[in-house]
């Protein structure tokens, strides 16, 4: 039984008002939003309201919002969609390299080494098909240098895809400058905003993005609902083939309940962004300060970067992160070693090694991510059990050196 949940970057609970808004669409208003009849029209109206709500959260126009199944689909759609269109191919793409030898037929993508797997693995899949990739490094705090984006641009660069906030560190990337550079060079710019939407403000026009991914379950809406912002005029190939739902961009009967939930969650998030951030960052800072005071030989990874207010990533010297997560879970505190998607993997986090941590240090690092409903008493609880668990692990650690120095 867990008492305290500090893993909101993995997922969030559905907000009660969100659930209330959704419920009618599973029973009374169950109709297909594409049907002509009145029940269908009611479902359609709900979907369109949600589209307006999501658009408002990111400063977009409603017709620029495509509902998807979540962040992974949105990222894949943006990346494969832009590249397939740029070479005039249908998806799933065949080997580009087999098509032509002209460099323009082999598009180029610029991304970073700290992207989520949904972006990285999509890029790697394209790389195997002959697309060339530039993976920009980040500094020790987890931030990419926007000038390095400019330097990486080639005539055949078709897409820049750089996340807004990193899921493990919370590091917020300089999207405005990158967006300006992308616009100057007339290159499509996609951002994975799954970890920032609903946490910090983002306006698609301020940052000049053409494509933006967001996910419902990271902002108190249900799993299985997400959105892709597609700036008007963007040439994007569809990922799925089917009916004419969502103007053909994304066929498949709309997940009305989920979409309504996403809209409602976006509506709730927008006016409370500032107050949520203030509340959550105060608690996050208290957690960090408290840990630094109580536990020797720890370090906050990427502490100097601009970060999402809810995230902290802490390296505990001499600890197996996996064992610490289990020990804490048994004490009633839920947190994680990096991304939930890579649990059980042997490899240390690619994000932490990208900011210069050794494999050992990366495996010793835990992520604590707070949420809108995190209470101060929960942070007090965490500050009690984490030092306890760390001491318990270090007492039996074959690698922990009881040196008095700070790391």
């Amino acid at each position: 039984m867990n008492l305290v949940y500090l893993d909101y970057n993995a997922t969030t609970p559905v907000e009660p008002q969100v659930l209330d808004a959704m419920l009618p669409y599973f029973s009374a208003d169950f109709a297909n939003a594409s049907s002509i009849h009145t029940p269908g029209q009611r479902a359609r109206a709900a979907v369109e309201t949600a589209r307006e709500q999501v658009a408002a959260l990111i400063g977009a126009r409603p017709q620029e919002i495509v509902f998807t199944s979540g962040g992974t689909e949105s990222d894949n759609h943006a990346i494969f969609g832009v590249i397939a269109e740029s070479v005039g191919q249908a998806l799933p793409p065949v080997a580009f390299s087999s098509l032509a030898d002209s460099p323009l037929a082999k598009p180029h993508i610029i991304t970073t080494t700290i992207e989520h797997e949904a972006v990285l693995n999509a890029c790697q899949a394209l790389e195997k098909q002959g697309v060339s990739l530039t993976y920009l490094p980040v500094d020790r705090e987890g931030i990419v240098d926007s000038e390095s984006v400019r330097v990486a641009i080639r005539p055949e660069t078709a897409l820049i895809t750089i996340m807004h906030a990193n899921n493990e560190l919370g590091a917020v990337q300089p999207l405005e400058e990158i967006g300006r550079i992308a616009k100057e060079h007339k290159i499509y710019f996609h951002t994975d905003a799954v970890q920032s939407a609903g946490k910090i403000p983002i306006d698609v026009n301020d940052v000049n993005v053409d494509l933006l991914s967001l996910s419902g379950h990271k902002l108190y809406a249900p799993k299985g609902a997400g959105a892709l912002y597609v700036r008007s005029g963007t040439h994007l190939r569809q990922l799925l083939y089917g009916g004419h739902h969502q103007r053909g961009f994304r066929p498949g009967t709309e997940n009305v309940g989920g979409i309504v939930g996403l809209g409602k969650a976006a509506e709730i998030a927008r006016p409370s962004l500032a107050s949520d951030a203030k509340h959550v960052s105060a608690l996050r800072d208290k957690l960090e300060r408290g840990l630094l005071e109580r536990v020797p030989q720890i370090r906050v990874n990427g502490a100097l970067a601009p970060r999402t207010p809810n995230t902290t990533n802490v390296m505990f010297a001499g600890i197996e992160g996996e064992a610490l997560v289990i020990a804490l879970d048994l004490k009633g505190l839920a947190c994680s070693v990096g991304a939930a998607c890579s649990s059980g993997a042997v490899e240390p986090s690619h994000v932490l090694t990208a900011i210069g941590l050794s494999q050992e240090e990366a495996k010793s690092s835990l992520r604590f991510s707070l949420g809108r409903h995190t209470a101060e008493s929960e942070i007090d609880f965490a500050l009690r059990v984490i030092p306890e668990a760390v001491a318990q692990l270090r007492a039996l650690s074959p690698t922990y050196l009881r040196a008095p120095s700070n790391v």
Binding site: L330, A395, P398
Partner: protein
């Protein structure tokens, strides 16, 4: 073999009676039943399933069709999780792939390539299950680690030593694979099935409605699900960049006459008769393997029987290291009936064992375990 874990700061078994017990859960019926038994006894429990080996790593060994109950298959992890859900206790999958490869798989392959016939299970027990897994169990707050082994542990109050005993069910006894455990490891281990026989375990599994109650037993070495070691060694060596060139050689008789050729010493084990690749007038067996000269020596059944051999890495279990020679019954492979012998220590970690009567196929790489009745006095590797 050295066990260097630091077990000096937390309370020992005597100090905490009803503390949290971790269970090493493979997803099979035995370790699942351990969970049911301990829970019925009122212990708080936590399940740990080790991810040890990635079967996708050597895809050429996958074979056709889904093969059930491989080591670390998702099915087994899923089964362990179902049992934990059924009995309602916490369960975690923990990754020990790196340690398993370094301490079990790689030595297994190296030994085969050196002409020996290793036992991976003993290494896994001594160096993975009762070392990093036990350490992790203790790090997460468990005082002891319970496993589904068929063997017994008891404290001898006179000698103050932890003793390892054979299982009550002779046919299931696994004490042969546990001789490497230190006193520290034994003091923190628990084998709840040691007093039970296979039927009783199945009955318990059924009575507690375990979802794995009818699951068949797995007999093969966990990371070689096909049972084909040669194929595994070849595939692993290729993957790990171990050169298998230079592997062709001669098969010779004891007096050096070449009677055939072979494709690598890892294809052979002492006492093997089949697969020598040639026909002889009388039955011939592998007598010894000489990896230096890449030769396999064959001879008749009589030559296969020997009386005396040396062992290394001696570990004394139920008794203090003896100062003089002792008499014991010695078991030289899993299916061997222990035979009377004298064990004579030669320095710290070596010994000479002399059977009263010659034994067949004493095989380098296998364990020699010294018993006094049910008690495991100690064990060692056959040189």
């Amino acid at each position: 073999m050295s066990v260097t874990a630091e077990f000096d700061t937390l309370p020992t078994r005597e100090e905490t009676q009803r503390g949290l017990v971790a269970i090493a859960m493979s997803g099979g019926v035995d370790s699942s039943t351990v969970a049911a038994v301990l829970q019925e006894q009122g212990h708080p429990i936590v399940g740990l399933t080790m991810q040890l080996w990635n079967q996708r790593r050597l895809p050429e060994l996958q074979g056709d069709g889904p093969k059930q109950h491989r080591c670390c298959s998702l099915d087994d992890v899923y089964d362990a999780k179902r049992v934990a859900q059924h009995l309602n206790f916490p369960h975690y999958v923990v990754n020990f792939e790196e340690q398993f490869e370094q301490r079990v798989v790689r030595p297994f392959v190296d030994q085969y390539l050196a002409g020996r016939t290793p036992i991976a299970c003993t290494n896994c027990n001594t160096n993975v299950k009762f070392e990093p897994l036990l350490r992790m169990a203790r790090q997460i707050g468990a005082e002891r680690l319970a496993t589904g082994h068929y063997a017994r542990i008891r404290k001898n109050e006179q000698t103050a030593r932890w003793e390892l005993l054979r299982a009550r069910d002779e046919s299931k006894d696994q004490s042969y694979f546990l001789w490497g455990l230190s006193q520290e490891q034994l003091s923190r281990s628990e084998f709840p099935l040691g007093e039970l026989n296979k039927e009783e375990v199945r009955a318990l599994a059924r009575r507690t409605n375990l979802p794995v109650a009818e699951k068949p037993e797995s007999m093969e070495l966990c990371f070689v699900p096909s049972g084909n070691y040669v194929q595994f060694i070849q595939a692993y060596s290729r993957d790990a960049g171990i050169s298998l060139s230079q592997n062709e050689g001669d098969i010779v008789t004891e007096d050096g006459a070449v009677v055939g050729h072979h494709n690598g010493v890892h294809n052979f084990t002492i006492g093997q008769r089949k697969g020598l690749g040639f026909a002889a007038g009388k039955p011939l067996y592998v007598l010894s393997i000489d990896p230096e000269n890449n030769r396999v020596v064959v001879g008749d059944d009589d030559s296969l029987r020997t009386t005396s051999f040396e062992v290394n890495c001696v570990n004394w279990v139920s008794i203090e290291p003896p100062s003089a020679s002792i008499r014991a019954t010695v078991k030289i492979r899993h299916k061997h009936e222990p035979a009377p012998a004298v064990v004579e220590a030669l320095g710290d970690s070596q010994a000479r064992i002399t059977f009263d009567a010659p034994q067949r196929a004493i095989t380098p790489g296998q364990g020699a375990v010294f018993y006094d009745g049910d008690r495991v006095l100690g064990g060692a590797w056959i040189r």
